[in-house]
Symmetry: C2
Subunit: 109 residues, 2 copies
């Protein structure tokens, strides 16, 4: 039988807890994409849906709720927008664009 693994491992310190929450949030389909699209423009529900390859409205709805709860997105009369916190996240994620281009180039040989 497989050795039971401890469910939680005591790590070096309390640091590293916050980043795990970020991984939980961003490591879910569509969340990064939605924020990326909102970083360009504020968008309506259906507009966001179109930009995100026609993703399911049911999922979009739960994503918006999550991101709103996380204070990264909020609703206005002109549609959904990033909060200051959301904008700052997209700023830290911005270098990903260049990395991605580099990666694609090297991967495709």
């Amino acid at each position: 039988m497989t050795t039971p693994l401890p469910k939680k491992l005591v790590r070096g310190s309390s640091s590293g807890v916050a980043i795990m929450a970020v991984f939980d949030l961003l490591g879910r389909k569509w969340n990064m994409r939605i924020m990326w699209e909102l970083n360009s423009d504020p968008l309506s529900f259906r507009g966001l849906q179109e930009r995100c390859d026609g993703m399911s409205p049911s999922v979009l709805n739960t994503r918006i709720k999550q991101l709103t709860e996380a204070e990264l997105v909020f609703t206005t009369s002109e549609g959904y927008k990033l909060t200051t916190l959301g904008l700052s996240l997209m700023n830290t994620l911005n270098p990903l664009r260049d990395w991605a281009a580099d990666w694609e180039e090297k991967i495709s040989k």
Copy 2:
């Protein structure tokens, strides 16, 4: 009936394709976490599993294959390690740690 949405929207240019692939890869449960852990140390299969809260070995196995395919991870006699490409990705993702701390602070009020 719901208006059919166009499955693909013509965007401004060819730029932005690579970043979508990155979102696909990183927007999957465990992928960021695995790379984060490997950025600290090279780890064995079971070691990686422990660090990742005892995640299922079946999922871990498919993740390792994906990340290897993406040339972000490779296998050595001492365990799994990040490639140069993988290291550079973690470098661009590094500011996330600080952002996460900031976010947690503001969120918990």
